[in-house]
């Protein structure tokens, strides 16, 4: 089985970032970047499948600037076999990403696309669904458990009403939730090995244009300080006073 895992380069989710003074973007000078944590979970899952079944191969792909090599190498260090970098500095939204991924899928020919349900930078939660629609493939989103069978995967997904289990025929798109697994520490020999694993670069394959445009970025308004109350009664009274109850 061939698995394709898209990985996105995002600002380290634990870094403090500020918008640029003109609101046109984020001030990322000196800020660390990392693999989108949901995508790292997808890589981890794919590598575990490969460890259970040596016939599985894992390709990772990133769409973005040349700097994405850092994140692809990390995925290779975790255990992916090869990497593809679609190099572009164009502005992208989920529409563009889905269009480009569709082209990559047609090129690589995976049985399964395993990807994060969302990215921690824009939290869109769309690319996986859009990709499945473009390909006309079945999809299972928010996976918290994945079991492979002959020609299908059984995916347990978390919903507001509890867990739902789906049998999804391959090829399919599956998006990962946080509880799917806990990524391993990357062994140092793996990091050394990743230096010489294949990574190829190619330009964009489509001319898809973004459907959304960033107008302005501004920090959320700072919250006014809270007030301490002495008892539940006082709390209820205070909430009433503000019309919250």
């Amino acid at each position: 089985m061939k698995i394709l895992v898209p990985v996105k380069r995002v600002v380290d989710p634990y870094a403090k970032v500020k918008p640029l003074p003109d609101g046109s973007g984020l001030d990322v000078a000196g800020v660390k970047f990392d693999v989108n944590p949901f995508d790292e979970i997808a890589v981890e899952e794919a590598v575990r499948m490969k460890e259970r079944d040596p016939s599985v191969s894992v390709t990772v792909v990133s769409i973005g600037s040349g700097d994405c090599e850092e994140q692809l190498r990390k995925a290779l260090a975790i255990g992916a076999d090869e990497a593809l970098l679609v190099e572009t500095t164009d502005e992208m939204d989920s529409t563009v990403v889905a269009a480009e991924l569709e082209a990559v899928v047609r090129q690589v020919g995976p049985d399964l696309v395993l990807m994060g349900k969302q990215a921690t930078d824009d939290d869109c939660n769309q690319a996986g669904q859009m990709l499945a629609a473009r390909l006309g493939w079945p999809q299972a989103t928010f996976a918290c458990k994945i079991e492979t069978a002959q020609g299908s995967v059984r995916v347990t997904r978390e919903t507001d009403n509890g867990e739902e289990t789906l049998d999804v025929p391959l090829p399919a798109v599956v998006t990962t939730d946080l509880r799917l697994n806990e990524p391993r520490y990357i062994a140092l020999p793996g990091i050394i090995k990743a230096r010489s694993k294949p990574l190829s670069r190619q330009p964009r394959a489509t001319t898809a244009a973004p459907k959304t445009r960033t107008i302005r970025l501004e920090p959320p308004p700072s919250r006014p300080p809270g007030r301490r109350v002495g008892s539940v009664d006082e709390l209820v009274a205070a909430l009433r006073e503000r019309g919250a109850l």
């Binding site: 190498r73 140092l188 230096r195």
Partner: protein, 524 residues
Amino acid sequence: MSIQTQETGCSFLSKTPDRVFSPEEFAKDEQLMIDQALQFSRKEVVPLAERIDAQEDGLMPGLIRKAGEIGFCGIDSPADHGGLGLGKNLAARILEFLSLNASFSVTYGVTSGIAQLGLSLFGTEAQRAEYLPRLASGEWIGAYALSEPNSGSDALSMSARAERQGDKWVLNGTKMWISNAKWAEFFLVMAKIDGQDVSAFLVERSFPGVSVSREEHKLGLKGSSTARLVLENAEVPLENLLYEPGKGHHVAFNALNIGRFKLAAMSLGPAREAIWEATQYAMDRKQFGRSISDFGLIRQKLADMVAHYFAVEAALYRTGANIDAAFAAHGGTVDGNRAAAEEFAVECSAVKILATEAEARIVDEALQLYGGYGFTEEFPLARIYRDCRVSRIYEGTNEINRVFLADRLKRRADAGRASLVASGDSFASELAGKAMAKFGSDQVTVGALSDLLLLTYAEQSARLRAQQVGGVAQLAYERFTNWANIQAAMAYQTVTGEPVALPSSRPGHVDELADAILATRSPI
């Protein structure tokens, strides 16, 4: 990391390099390794601090094995014997991040460092093949046994003896303060053949006549094992003599040169952790209706802590890059390894003193910033405070390192391998140059001269790093220089008795640095 350096041992004094390696320059995949170390510390080690201090059965050996599985236990050991064959500078950076908990750090630092180093530098193929793979994988814990009850600083006065009896060595003596003794399967032991010639032996715990006794009750580092290694007619195979008979001091002291450099990294880890914790606390703690981070004296502490950390970090990784370059140029043979490990001995002592004393200042101020909570076990500073005290005592006390530093420089100069003419590229360097003329033999002036030398080294390292990095680094450098100048003036007075006027300092730089620290909560 690419190694480009024209520096030789002590050249910092007479020549300012164009640039120095700074920790920002570790390659991306090296950063990824360093990241793994930080996450391992935060998730696997720091949360277990209390259980580690209680020396819970099996806990520490389990952590070392886990670290070994990731590849941490043989980073700079030879790749053909289970190590990764990476550089000492990277190994030190990883060590720094694995040192947020000091008990784990010393256990890990010894087994991955001085326990293996003698073998890596001086071992035969057979000796390396026998022991390195088990140590580098974390399967075995190793120890380094030099000190004795009556021979600490004066290590060569040891009384442990080795006698050749037929096809084996028979060792007798007691080694004291041996880190890791409780868990170690392997000991690098220094003893005198026939009571005369200091020699190094590879000793397994399972050899007849080897035992471990008396775990020490310590002020801190309670989770690390410190005990005696007792040798009673211990039987050691002939082939377990390391290097040559009578040359054990080369093994012991070269392991210590690199060991001192590594200890500096081990001391910066807790300092970094203290800054990290204290900065957050300063923002959270409210008194008089404001965060205490609004108060000038607290802001000054934050600025000072970061400034010291920044400067020592600069000196440390500059030294490490130079050591790596020396190994790249000379290493490979036993003689070459020896030359490489000796080349930057002065700088190794300098960073040992700088880092352990910066650690002490930083941790002390961080605890102060916590007020009464700092003195309680509910908050992390009390443990860090106790644990860091030993840094100034082992791997050569700071007094011994001060004496060694000036002495080594003089000996290099006598041998035509260093110039005593200071470049005068800083206030400290100018004073060091003038003080050098009064090179005497009494310890107080020797110590003060060493202070001038190590301040010169730290100032220059921080200055070059700040030039290369810019931004907040400039402010940290400015703050550090301010302190270093005052220290240099005092040391100069001690040597010469002459008055000396201090350079001026820019008002407002403390506040600017404090603002920058609070904006990112980062020790840069």
